[in-house]
């Protein structure tokens, strides 16, 4: 018991210390965000990096998720004889949950890992140290623009994911399963409220901040070796995914 207790204590202390370190790093980034925004071109480039490169995978997955929603939603609603509500079900499911969560998970795997390995490699090759010696803060020049890039890119990606997802749901529900197209769209329009949209947007912004923060933190603190960068990349995916689902529960509970 005492050994296990000590181990648990150690884990707890380790976890708290890590959270503290991430928080400190977060404030360091925040302090450098304004100066970083002084160079819009660098930031835009990072939005492009994080966003455009994830576009294909986001659209592809959005389509499949929407198609599955169409099938499952139709099957479920048909049991109550209310297939016409398929549009509402798909829209709410995508806007409030699937868009932000699946989008964030894909983002962590595609853009987050790229961020981590890029920054980690810069560290391993002394580039970050060289910047410091040249009196340039790498948090301002390297980390903050990438953080902002991720933060901006994810909500945009989620919006695209939702649009493509709705198209997929419509494709299966209306074209294949025969739901009335008019009912599909008009019920959706009537039932979805601004609050639902806002919930989705807030979630995607929070997830974007969390995933980007984890990615740049892991990269910046990677051990400066090939192995260290690999490990950091793995940690980015694991931590971002767990954090996204945890935050999703907390935000959902707060909104309902």
């Amino acid at each position: 018991m005492s050994v296990a207790g000590a181990a648990a204590d150690g884990l707890l202390v380790g976890a708290l210390r890590r959270i503290g370190a991430v928080a400190v790093f977060f404030f360091r980034i925040l302090a450098q965000c304004l100066p970083a925004l002084g160079r819009p071109r660098v930031v835009v480039h990072q939005v492009y990096n994080a966003g455009a490169r994830s576009l294909i995978i986001i659209m592809l997955c959005g389509l499949f998720v929407g198609m599955v929603l169409g099938l499952q939603g139709h099957d479920l609603l048909a049991r109550f004889g209310s297939e016409d509500a398929l549009g509402v079900a798909a829209a709410l499911g995508l806007l409030k949950e699937l868009g932000p969560v699946v989008g964030a998970l894909l983002f962590a795997g595609r853009a987050g890992t790229a961020l981590t390995s890029e920054i980690g490699l810069m560290k391993a090759t002394d580039q970050l140290t060289a910047m410091e010696i040249m009196a340039v803060d790498p948090v301002r020049l390297v980390v903050a623009p990438r953080f902002i890039g991720g933060l901006v890119a994810l909500p945009l990606l989620v919006a695209i994911f939702n649009v493509v997802g709705l198209f997929g749901a419509q494709l299966v529900g209306v074209q294949v399963m025969g739901v009335d197209a008019g009912a599909f769209w008009s019920q959706m329009q009537a039932a979805v409220e601004l609050d639902d949209v806002a919930e989705g947007i807030i979630k995607s912004v929070v997830f974007g901040a969390a995933c980007s923060l984890v990615a740049v933190y892991e990269g910046f603190h990677a051990a400066p070796t090939a192995e260290g960068v690999g490990l950091a990349t793995t940690r980015t995916v694991v931590t971002s995914s767990v954090l996204t689902l945890l935050l999703d529960y907390m935000l959902t509970a707060a909104f309902l």
């Binding site: 060289a130 010696i133 009196a135």
Partner: protein, 281 residues
């Protein structure tokens, strides 16, 4: 050395100490790297730091540039304690320093030209034509003006080091620190770098600190050299004095003998015993 300055006419005094390392202790975890290190670099002089691989020469440079703080003792540059500085002051100090990294450390997403231009773009608001001229002049000095549009990945190791040198001098620093500038260079580039170090020192009065194992090259340019071994300065003086020294450690290093006071091997259990004992590693 310092006591001698008092009471003497100014002309006879040695130039002021710019980098002053005093009684520094440092280590990684429980492993001690430095145990009471004393090194002084004087204005306008070339100070050589020599020592076998793994004695902590790169670590010493990290202490001087304020990347790490000593456990004991002080490191002062221009008379100010580097470890006690807030980041703003440290950055202001670093603008007066240039450093050449052991592996170049060029920014991989910028071209050669932009790498050299980087410090200028960050710290000086210059018209583009002037900036271009400065960058091309520095690249010309290292013989790579023609490579301005290449990316770092397209350079050989020696070329990358020369670009890094151009970048280190682009801000006209007062102190220039070289970490192993001669390793992996062909004889022509090597001669060029040696001449460049000396020329910058003579023409511009730059204080240079050169870390190297290259006894020959350093002997030709250094005003003063320090030989480090096992956490301490084991000998110091002009290269000629070191060469004439009959201290065993010094002779071992200068003449490249494997066995002597400086062990060639990293600390290890007995060789034969370890080979015979299959169980332990």
């Amino acid at each position: 050395m310092t006591a001698a300055v008092q009471g003497l006419p100014a002309a006879a005094a040695a130039p002021e100490v710019v980098v002053d390392v005093r009684g520094v202790h440092y280590g990684f975890g429980r492993r001690a790297i430095f145990a009471g290190l004393d090194i002084q670099a004087r204005r306008g002089r070339i100070t050589a730091i020599m020592g076998p691989s793994g004695t902590g020469k790169t670590t010493l440079l990290r202490l001087i540039t304020g990347q790490v703080a000593p456990r004991e003792g002080t490191v002062s540059v221009f008379g100010e304690d580097v470890a006690a500085m807030p980041q703003r002051e440290l950055f202001a100090l670093r603008r007066r320093m240039g450093m050449l990294f052991q592996n170049g450390a060029l920014l991989t997403d910028l071209s050669v030209f932009e790498n050299v231009a980087f410090p200028l773009r960050e710290h000086a608001r210059l018209p583009e034509s002037l900036l271009r001229n400065i960058v091309l002049t520095k690249l010309h000095a290292v013989g790579l003006r023609g490579a301005a549009n290449l990316m770092p990945a397209e350079l050989s190791g020696g070329m990358a080091r020369r670009v890094a040198l151009a970048r280190a001098i682009v801000m006209d620093p007062e102190i220039l620190i070289y970490d192993e500038p001669f390793v992996g260079l062909d004889p022509i580039s090597m001669g060029m770098i040696v001449r460049l170090i000396r020329r910058m020192n003579e023409a511009l009065g730059i204080t240079s600190i050169v870390v190297s194992h290259d006894v020959e090259e350093l002997g030709a340019i250094a005003h003063e050299s320090y030989l480090l071994s096992q956490g301490k300065v084991v000998a110091s003086g002009t290269p000629a004095e070191l060469r004439a020294s009959n201290l065993e450690v010094v002779r071992q290093f200068m003449e490249g003998i494997a066995d002597g006071p400086v062990p060639f091997h990293y600390p290890a259990p007995d060789y034969v015993a370890q080979l015979l004992d299959g169980s332990a590693r």
